[in-house]
């Protein structure tokens, strides 16, 4: 917890209140306890206040029951990662207490449900223990016997009091959340909340107060990464999609199934992954970029169809919410091990576009960009996110919807002639013409997965195969020309540049911030465009002595992670090294700094030898 001022008698009602700029709160319980909704309330509150917010949720892969945690980091400055250590741990059970105490910083505050948790003598000195009979006090507050219901809202009240959060805003949020379920539910929730908020103990009241932010964050929306992708696709004009349930992609499918009808569209739940991608491609062929998506094994299943879309030059967006692999792997853990399948999955030379979203806000805009590229280049676009971003809630500046929303109604204007695979087109990207378009010279296109001539008819001519292969690849080069050159985070030049993508970006940026303070400055580079790579990377790399690619995947037999492998293949630069891990947990800032230092020292040893 960063304290901007030690204490301040002038703030709030409590005399011991500390002004802080940020705090990490971890809530640990079981998945049916509504842990996520406490996090959701805090995130929404932050979105309506001056605080930035980033949350992290882990859910067990079991259907119900089992341990569950939610971590929320609230701050007055930019919050880049979910936080390495918690300042406050709220533990509902003995296992929550024992398994998560190590995540609490020394001297941090442990709030535990004294109905379920027996404190460990050894830890009493290390952490400040505050026992509150959450379960029985909740029952007392709301009456009845629904022991597990309402505990989360009671705990929210406690947290509200500890951090002196805005009571009025929180009550409004609770009202909004439960209004649809009827007055009695609202009343019960409110009773539980107020009882928690009014809990009398010097230990807990007005411990902290957030400093005010320098930035105006008054107009923010709060959502998860998966929601941001769903709404980004809608904003971009997508009106059709198809999918099959798989964690952690399913949220997007459920959202689109619910939301698309409002726009005259629909999302179809299919019998399997292959049907899903095929139906989406069929709809894209029908004239409007469609979406499919999946995670882990589902992406493997879709690869043949994606290859068809490459060959047939039909636009498509494939969302991949990465989880731990291979095979069924770790369905509810994070990993960045699908970069290779996204770039290279499937047989044959099949160049496609790969984009990676770095945070929740980025999910929204990257989804929009994916649709745009798919349409303009008639190519499948793989949109990579991961379990960590998917389930995390962040607040971000509200997009200006009126300006950015697109209408992609198919254009069926008759055309004098149409060569579906014209080798002479400037950027190599022929425009797809949807069925229903009258072609006045009477020559109609067949889109096909067989190698073909310019009219779409099968041909195994050596020149044509080479020409068409070049055409499919050249349009990616044309796209690369128009991509913005990525910006270095931190100093423009120096000793170490860490390169990352996806959810690794936040911790990398924070590592840059932290490293700046101890004289071992590093800079970071985030890549959103993985295939094709943007121009200008060579020049950026030339400004640094060492380039470390930090990823949540394995270094493989050659010692380089998946992005590192792509960069080495592209730049043949021996300075590019991999920093990898596969513990299925997000990068912590200190881990990155430690590993960078290890590499730096090892390099120094080699240099000195």
């Amino acid at each position: 917890m960063s304290q901007s001022a030690a204490t301040g008698d002038d703030i709030g009602s409590g005399s011991q209140s500390s002004r802080i700029s940020e705090a990490v709160i971890r809530i640990a319980g079981n998945s049916q306890d509504g842990i996520q909704s406490i996090g959701g309330f805090l995130a929404r509150l932050a979105g309506r206040s001056e605080q930035e917010v980033m949350t992290m949720m882990t859910i067990p892969s079991t259907i119900s029951g089992g341990p569950s945690i939610f971590q929320v980091r609230l701050g007055s400055g930019d919050v880049l990662s979910a936080g390495d250590e918690a300042d406050v741990l709220l533990a509902f059970y003995q296992h929550s207490y024992e398994n998560h105490i190590s995540n609490l910083r020394e001297g941090g505050i442990l709030v535990y449900d004294s109905d379920h948790v027996e404190p460990n003598e050894e830890w009493l000195d290390k952490y400040r223990h505050i026992g509150i009979a959450i379960s029985s006090l909740t029952v007392e507050a709301i009456g009845g016997t629904a022991r597990d219901k309402g505990k989360n809202i009671y705990a929210l009240g406690l947290i509200g009091r500890m951090f002196n959060l805005n009571l009025e805003k929180l009550e409004r949020l609770i009202n909004e959340r439960f209004a649809a379920k009827g007055e009695s539910v609202v009343k019960t929730a409110m009773d539980a909340f107020q009882s928690g908020y009014r809990y009398q103990s010097d230990d807990i009241t007005n411990l902290f107060e957030f400093t005010s932010s320098e930035v105006d964050r008054s107009n923010q929306v709060v959502m998860s990464g998966n929601e941001a992708i769903g709404y980004g696709l809608i904003a971009a004009g997508v009106r059709f999609g198809a999918g099959y349930p798989i964690t952690p992609w399913s949220d997007i499918m459920e959202l689109l199934r619910r939301e698309l009808p409002k726009y005259g569209g629909s999302f179809i739940q299919c019998e399997d992954e292959i049907a899903s991608v095929s139906m989406a491609i069929g709809a894209s062929y029908g004239g409007r970029v469609a979406v499919t998506g999946s995670s882990g094994p589902g992406i493997s299943l879709k690869t043949e169809a994606i290859g068809w879309a490459v060959m047939a030059e039909v636009p498509l967006v494939v969302v991949d919410i990465q989880r731990g692999g291979p095979s069924t792997g770790l369905p509810t853990n994070v990993e960045q091990s699908d970069l290779n399948i996204a770039c290279f999955g499937g047989h044959g030379d099949s160049p496609r576009v790969v984009l990676a979203a770095a945070n929740v806000e980025d999910c929204f805009y990257t989804a929009m960009e994916a649709v745009d590229i798919a349409r303009r280049y008639s190519v499948p676009v793989m949109l990579l996110s991961d379990q960590a971003i998917a389930t995390r809630i962040e607040a971000f500046d509200e997009p200006k919807l009126e300006e950015i929303c697109q209408d992609l109604t198919p254009d069926l204007t008759p055309t004098p002639t149409h060569k579906p695979y014209d080798l002479e087109t400037k950027i190599g990207a022929s425009r797809h013409r949807a069925p229903g378009t009258r072609i006045e010279d009477g020559r109609y296109p067949v889109v096909t997965g067989l190698e073909h001539d310019e009219w779409g008819h099968p041909s195994a001519s050596p020149d044509l195969h080479e020409g068409m292969t070049h055409k499919r690849r050249n349009k990616l080069n044309a796209l690369a020309d128009e991509l913005p050159i990525p910006e270095v985070y931190g100093a423009d030049s120096g000793e170490v540049l860490v390169v990352g993508w996806g959810s690794t970006t936040g911790p990398l940026y924070e590592a840059v911030e932290k490293s700046g303070n101890n004289g071992q400055a590093i800079s970071a580079l985030k890549l959103r465009h993985i295939s094709p790579l943007p121009k200008g990377l060579e020049e950026i790399f030339s400004r640094f002595k060492k380039i470390y690619v930090v990823e949540m995947n394995d270094g493989g037999v050659h010692g380089y992670g998946q992005l590192a492998g792509v960069l080495r293949a592209r730049f043949a630069d021996p300075r590019i090294r991999g920093i990898n891990k596969t513990d299925a947990l997000r990068w912590k800032v200190w881990e990155i700094i430690d590993r960078v230092n290890e590499c730096r020292n090892a390099d120094a040893a080699v240099t000195n030898a």
């Binding site: 309506r48 005259g264 169809a305």
Partner: protein
Amino acid sequence: MSDSATLEAPPQDAEERQPVTKKEITADHPTWCPGCGDFSVLAIYYKLIQKRNIHHEKVTTVAGIGCSSRFPYFVQAHGAHYIHGRALSFASGVSLSRPDLHVFAFGGDGDAFSIGGNHFMHTARKNVKMTYVVMDNFVYGLTKKQTSPTSPLGFKSKTDNWGAFDRPINPMKLAISAGATFVARTSHTNPKHLLEMMDLAMDHDGFGFIECLSECTEFYAGAFDASNPRKGGEYLLVPEDHDVTDEAAAYKLAGEDFPGKFGVYYQVQRPTKNALEAGVSDAAKAKFEGKKDWEVLQTTFNRMK
């Protein structure tokens, strides 16, 4: 979907368009072997397009992989040659997103019942509006004589030298039990009957499935002689008193020994997937009447603050 009005092509010049001629609808010369049954299915497809006076741009022909799946190349109209077994899923995507088009899908027995078996069942039960013609030749032809899912017991192929012993799929039974709403059987040897079945299938509001026996002269010559009067067989029609809405009767008909009967086995009206999805969409849209798409999204975002 409900925005079908916007998908209609802009009005053409005032003069009446002439119906397409056979020449105009013909594209590449088929790659099929001489004598292949698929030629007559193609010829009947041209006839159907002419008879129904459909213009080029309104024809969408989709196929997967196999000899018969080369179909789209031979038709001068919009078409897609998709991957093996998944033509129905692709065709569903076109059908569900483009209510202004009638989608035709063509395939063979391997494409439909083996690699695409799952999609066949689910497209049937979802009753996605389209016409699906399976040219069933009881053998893998493109890959040169391996056992197919409809190869009869004892059929000697390169993968069953000693004679096939896996029980074959009965396409009629499969379609009926999966929930198809139009199930018919015909043969390439009887073009008049084939055209009649395709006409009926096209009129059917839902998933119209036709099994068309189509002889592979190269790898399974004579397979359907028992149904061909010119080869000493009998082409027996579904009895006139057969009740096409009676699922049990249709199933019984499907259980008859080869060559069985030809005609419509089963036909019922059930809401199409297309209509059901459009209904959901119309109801959802009604709540936002007069709002632009961005305003609808804004309403959602306002709740996320």
